[in-house]
């Protein structure tokens, strides 16, 4: 029997809508449940006090600081290196054996489980370079981990800039460097920042690699060489060891809020930049 086109339309509509609603429902259930369990835990003292009693009491001030420090180190290293590599691949070199090797390595690295990075960081940064369990070792490991993501998204963003922008800039007497800075980069910045946000998200959420490289110290990190734990690690230990589920949910809720804030702020920054340029 032939189905009427109108019926097909209706069925397609229903399928597509229900897929979207299902996904939305699952996501919002997770978020709402965590916020429901965790938000009541968040208070001024929860944010400002150092964990006591293995985290059963006190707040999560030191994991918050640890998260920020480790992420900052990772981003500070991975972003310039990643964007530089992306510009090299997209603008400074022809397709060749070398570019294919770089791209293939980056893609393979992007798919490796984070525990492998953790193991590498533990052997290389913690032991061989003798950094010990520290903010620096954790940040370096995360930098290596997110580098492929930053490279790939940045390169795609740079390649998506219309060739005509480059031609115009060259035809107006621009050097290659001026063309990249003034004509290509502003148009690619949205895509590049998406890659950075993805990287920040992975850093903030990372657990296994951090435990192996930054340790799990509860005290406040005072320098790049202090051991620390991040919120994700703290949350994992609280839940895994059954120390305090309510504090675990509090940490998780704060993690969600933090990622939300990072997204909103960076989007706002990019939009302001774009508005100035458009």
């Amino acid at each position: 029997m032939r189905v009427k086109p109108k019926t097909t339309e209706l069925i397609a509509k229903i399928l597509i809508w229900s897929a979207a609603i299902f996904v939305l429902a699952v996501l919002s259930f997770i978020i709402i449940y965590i916020l429901y369990r965790g938000l009541p835990m968040i208070s001024w003292s929860f944010l400002t006090e150092i964990p006591r009693n293995m985290g059963r009491d006190g707040g999560i001030a030191s994991p918050i600081v640890g998260t920020i420090m480790v992420t900052a180190v990772a981003i500070a290293l991975a972003v310039p290196l990643g964007i530089g590599t992306a510009f090299y691949l997209a603008e400074y070199t022809k397709e060749s054996g070398i570019t294919r090797v770089i791209r293939f390595s980056a893609e393979s690295l992007a798919g490796i489980p984070s525990i492998v990075y953790g193991l590498f960081g533990f052997i290389f940064f913690v032991i061989y370079l003798n950094l010990g369990w520290s903010v620096l070792a954790g940040g370096l490991t995360l930098a290596v981990m997110i580098l492929p993501t930053v490279i790939r998204t940045s390169e795609e963003a740079i390649r998506a800039v219309p060739q005509s922008y480059r031609e115009v800039s060259f035809s107006l007497g621009g050097t290659k460097w001026q063309t990249i800075i003034k004509a290509v980069f502003p148009s690619a910045i949205q895509g590049i920042s998406n890659g950075i946000i993805l990287g920040v998200g992975r850093c903030v959420a990372e657990t296994a690699a951090i435990m192996l490289t930054a340790g799990g110290a509860l005290r406040m990190a005072t320098s790049l060489f202090s051991p620390t734990r991040t919120m994700a690690v703290h949350f994992y230990i609280l839940a895994r060891e059954g120390i305090s589920m309510s504090n675990a949910y509090g940490t998780a809720a704060l993690l969600i809020i933090l990622i939300f804030i990072i997204n909103v702020v960076s989007n706002a920054l990019v939009n302001r930049f774009m508005a100035k340029n458009r």
Partner: protein, 253 residues
């Protein structure tokens, strides 16, 4: 009176990898005249224009033989500074290509590349260029708004203004009116005839009528070869080559 030549193209051939795009082309271009180079699509006209400001060098595998002289000196000499050459030979592309920034910033782009930072100087340059391109009155109250919001015709005049702001000596226009309505086209053609008093203009017209309307000299290209060149009226009235006459009478192309 002796003709003044701005550009001499000598035995020029152009290749991309092994494919030859232009065959042994000789052409002399007079100062302060409009030369239209016409021919069917794929004749190598764009390539020829882009050989003059050496923009072809962005294409991987591009190779040129022969020589192109600007004021009697090769543009392919070793000591030529590309950025200076491209400021002398400005180019307008076939689709309007405003950069994603404000109108002001688009026009000031070239001057800023050269290192000009003085606001007064920049705004003088912008105003003068926009006036010369007959766009000033339409945009003078919204210079800070995005150039992408302009209409197609305005965008193309913006691109012309952006080139004029460089104070070039030669202006290359690669089918500058191809996507534009007749009124915008007329406006651009008007500005061209005024501009030729100060600039040497090389135009790839988007049709024969345009070549006939604006040019002093015309050249006909076919399959990478220059078939014939001469005064506007001569070529259209008495083409010497059969292929030229076939093309302008509409027998092919």
């Amino acid at each position: 009176m002796q003709d003044q030549y701005k550009i001499n193209i000598r035995d020029m051939s152009f290749f991309i990898e092994k494919k030859q795009i232009i065959y042994d082309l000789n052409l002399d271009i007079r100062t302060n005249e409009i030369l239209s180079i016409f021919g069917p699509a794929g004749s190598g006209i764009t390539t020829l224009l882009r050989a003059l400001n050496r923009l072809n060098e962005l294409i991987p595998g591009a190779r040129i033989e022969g020589d192109i002289l600007l004021d009697g000196k090769s543009v392919y000499r070793k000591e030529v500074v590309l950025t200076e050459l491209r400021r002398k030979i400005g180019m307008v592309f076939d689709v309007p290509t405003p950069l994603p920034m404000s109108i002001f910033d688009n026009i000031a782009y070239g001057a800023r590349l050269k290192g000009e930072k003085n606001k007064k100087v920049l705004s003088d340059i912008v105003e003068r260029a926009l006036k010369e391109a007959a766009l000033w009155d339409e945009v003078k109250n919204r210079l800070k708004t995005s150039a992408l919001a302009l209409s197609g015709g305005q965008q193309q005049r913006l691109c012309i203004a952006r080139v004029l702001a460089l104070e070039p000596e030669v202006i290359l226009l690669d089918r500058p009116c191809s996507g534009l309505d007749p009124i915008s086209t007329a406006k651009i053609e008007d500005s061209l005839t005024q501009l030729k008093e100060r600039f040497t203009i090389i135009l790839a017209p988007h049709n024969l009528q345009q070549a006939g309307r604006v040019s002093d000299y015309v050249a006909f290209m076919l399959m990478g070869e220059l078939i014939e060149t001469g005064k506007n009226d001569d070529i259209f009235a008495n083409p010497k080559d059969q292929r030229t006459s076939d093309y302008i009478t509409g027998r092919f192309g």
